[in-house]
């Protein structure tokens, strides 16, 4: 019965629940969500793809012409790519609601606008 006081106290308290889909908390500043490439800055050095621990990044072509494919279904959001990038072209966004029904939709392609 040690908990009875605490339990009864809860009756007069608002639930601790965050009514999630209806109210959202903003993720903190440095949240590690889906990485986003800024292709204006990218020089196509390929470091991100070499360093990725789970092989989620694919680079097609070389140098400034390079296209980057990012597979969200393989990404583990560690942020090593963003940390390694010499030009700071990768940013960890605050996007985390990434659920999909189809794996093919989880591929994000980045290409330099010319």
């Amino acid at each position: 019965m040690a908990l009875i006081k605490e339990a009864l106290k809860q009756l007069f308290r608002r639930p601790a629940t965050l009514k999630y889909p209806y109210e959202k908390l903003n993720p903190p500043e440095d949240f590690r969500g889906r990485p986003v490439w800024n292709m204006k800055k990218c020089i196509g050095c390929g470091l991100c793809f070499k360093v990725c621990p789970s092989g989620a990044i694919e680079m097609i072509g070389k140098g400034l012409e390079a296209e980057i494919n990012h597979y969200v279904d393989r990404c583990m959001f560690c942020g090593q790519c963003a940390e390694t990038c010499p030009k700071n072209a990768i940013r960890m966004s605050e996007e985390y609601e990434l659920a999909e029904f189809d794996r093919s939709k989880m591929l994000h392609k980045y290409k330099r606008d010319t």
Binding site: M1, E6, F31, P53, C78
Partner: protein, 393 residues
């Protein structure tokens, strides 16, 4: 005390008491357990082999994913080992940050564990309260590292993110809240009759057995043996921080609960001290890709006990051999000892009592196929009989 036939009861691999697949075969005489055969290869992924195929940088994240609850302990152990091979030392500030993260992790891990124990004995309300309070720590983690679990804080040569002055008030507030709540739970656990009934004198592990069976961590400490890697073999900045090694000599589940709760309080103190006395400076040093030849043994006190990594390098960018022994594996022989002679209904709580983390343990498997064959074969046979019958068209 034999009442005739011995019944074999499988426990797992999919079982609500276990959030992970593992299997125990119990031989039961009446309500008493007379034999235990663990079979715990279900989480075996083959990580040790994978270590040899990846570069040192990529391995940090693999080490992190050995276990989701004590991920920081694994990375600390890994980065320490590689730093020693490289002959570099992480900056002092980085080591202080490692201590803070490790202690926060210990608090959240123990909170998680206590919640699960409460859940095992059907005390859902306590479970809900504890997990609610645990969110405080997870919020702090999210703020510091950008993720609730898998903080990815450690890197070879230091830590990746700094703890800024702006974060201090929130961390301290969270620690204050945790301290208050833990003290309350300490009180609840000692006064709630139903918990005392379920936890006192259950899962006894005598000090001598604990030493002989090489138990580690809170299990060992709950058997009254003072043993803590943080104190005995200080790493990170633990040699600069005063703290107590908590022991309890009840040898049962209750003392394991007490040890962990007291450790949470101690963890709050350590984290506070570290936050206050953290020196200024850089948080990481750059290290080369190639690691010179050598070998090293690295030890860390994970929330579940002594964690030991052994690394051998061969002068390339990939390790030659990497070995991990997680605390849970070390505690399995002790667990079998605890279960013997106990009640069937006590199995979940005793099992939970060692805070099993099979994800850690099962990077390597051990399966006793020959002995278990009898069961392994009968279960599919039994299940095959369960032919599905669709009544609805």
């Amino acid at each position: 005390m034999s009442h005739g036939s011995i019944i074999k009861i499988p426990f797992g691999p999919q079982h609500p008491a276990l959030k992970e697949p593992v299997n125990f075969l119990f031989e039961v005489d009446g309500e008493t357990v007379v034999n235990v055969k663990p079979r715990i290869g279900y989480n075996h992924r083959g990580i040790e082999k994978a270590f040899e195929l990846r570069t040192y940088t990529r391995n940090i994240y693999l080490a992190e994913r050995i276990c989701g609850i004590c991920s920081d302990a694994h990375t600390t152990c890994y980065t320490q080992a590689i730093e020693e091979l490289l002959g570099v030392e992480a900056p002092l500030r980085a080591r202080y940050i490692r201590v803070i993260i490790a202690e926060l992790e210990r608090i959240q891990s123990h909170a998680l564990w206590l919640g699960l124990v409460a859940h095992e004995i059907g005390f859902d309300t306590l479970f809900m309260y504890i997990w609610r309070d645990r969110e405080t720590i997870l919020d702090i983690f999210e703020m510091i590292s950008g993720n609730r679990i898998h903080y990815a804080m450690n890197t070879i040569g230091g830590v990746r993110r700094d703890i800024h002055a702006a974060m201090m008030p929130k961390i301290k507030k969270g620690l204050d809240l945790m301290e208050k709540r833990v003290k309350y739970y300490l009180d609840v656990v000692q006064t709630e009759q139903t918990i005392l009934k379920r936890a006192t004198g259950v899962g006894i592990l005598k000090p001598k057995d604990a030493v002989d069976l090489c138990a580690v961590g809170p299990i060992l400490r709950a058997s009254g043996i003072k043993n803590d890697v943080r104190a005995d073999d200080p790493y990170a900045a633990y040699n600069e921080i005063p703290f107590n090694v908590i022991t309890c000599d009840g040898c049962d589940i209750l003392s394991r609960i007490m040890v962990r709760l007291e450790e949470m309080l101690e963890g709050v103190e350590i984290a506070r001290h570290a936050l206050d006395s953290m020196p200024e400076g850089v948080i990481r040093v750059r290290v080369p890709m190639k690691v010179p030849q050598g070998e090293v043994v690295s030890r860390v006190e994970a929330p579940r006990g002594e964690l030991i990594h052994y690394a051998k390098s061969n002068g390339t960018t990939k390790p030659e051999r990497y070995k991990v022994r997680s605390p849970t594996l070390g505690n399995i022989p002790a667990l079998c000892k605890m279960l013997l002679g106990g009640y069937v209904a006590d199995i979940p709580i005793v099992l939970a009592g060692i805070d099993p983390c099979f994800a850690c343990m099962d990077r390597m498997a051990f399966i006793d196929t020959k002995k278990n064959r009898k069961w392994v074969l009968t279960m599919p046979q039994l299940r095959r009989k369960y032919k599905r019958k669709c009544m609805q068209k």
